[in-house]
């Protein structure tokens, strides 16, 4: 399953989505809102997205993982809207027969998402704000 949603992300949903009887490993990555950036204190983050295109890019990432690492399931969800410190902004779960493939595919998925998904992050500080990329 892949999705961009304004609703809080569910770890349980990710886990249930990629569990397979033929998979002995599930790797879960959770990106969370950090309270600092470049020495500045972050108070909140707002994410916006081109939802349809972002979901299509997630689908490509999942298809590539299935082809390169023979993954069982790939789950990618990204949240939009105003998030508080500690909130999960992205959840990726990957299952595979053995752990090495799940670790590699999950790492690849988050790196590709950061490069390709049309999603924008606006960080808010005690004074001011900034668009953050990369």
């Amino acid at each position: 399953m892949v999705k961009v949603t304004a609703e809080p992300l569910s770890i349980d949903e990710a886990y249930a989505d990629v569990r397979r009887p033929d998979c002995g490993a599930i790797v879960l990555f959770i990106g969370t809102v950090r309270n600092h950036h470049d020495g500045k204190s972050v108070t909140k983050i707002s994410y916006s997205a081109f939802k349809e295109m972002a979901e299509k890019e997630f689908g490509k990432i999942a298809a590539e993982a299935a082809e390169r690492w023979k993954t069982g399931g790939v789950y990618i969800a990204h949240r939009t809207g105003a998030l508080e410190i500690g909130d999960a902004s992205v959840v990726i779960a990957v299952s595979s027969a053995h752990r090495a493939e799940a670790f590699e595919a999950c790492r690849h998925a988050i790196e590709e998402l950061k490069k390709m998904a049309p999603i924008w992050k606006e960080e808010f500080y005690e004074t001011g704000k900034a668009w953050i990329h990369g």
């Binding site: 490069k115 049309p118 992050k121 668009w131 990329h133």
Partner: protein, 80 residues
């Protein structure tokens, strides 16, 4: 003359105060649409970091645009 919609996101939407602009152009590529946009939205500042999409796929300045397409300007992304 073709009619297209242009979508602006993130910092570009903030810069221009709008997220969608309807345009007519005699051109037929992404580059032509961007040139028409520069006239329609003079406050827009584009640099080489901005990527483009036609509908839901990344595209190049030379990529074709047809009547009814949605051209998106994709400033540097920050998901994750």
């Amino acid at each position: 003359m073709i009619k297209v919609a242009v979508q602006l996101f993130g910092p570009l939407a903030e810069q221009t105060g709008c997220s969608r602009i309807e345009l007519s152009t005699t051109g037929s590529t992404v580059g032509d649409v961007v040139a028409a946009l520069a006239v329609a939205a003079p406050s827009l500042r584009l640099d080489r970091s901005v990527r483009f999409a036609v509908n839901t796929d990344y595209a190049e300045p030379a990529s074709p645009v047809r009547e009814g397409d949605v051209v998106s300007l994709i400033p540097p992304v920050g998901g994750g």
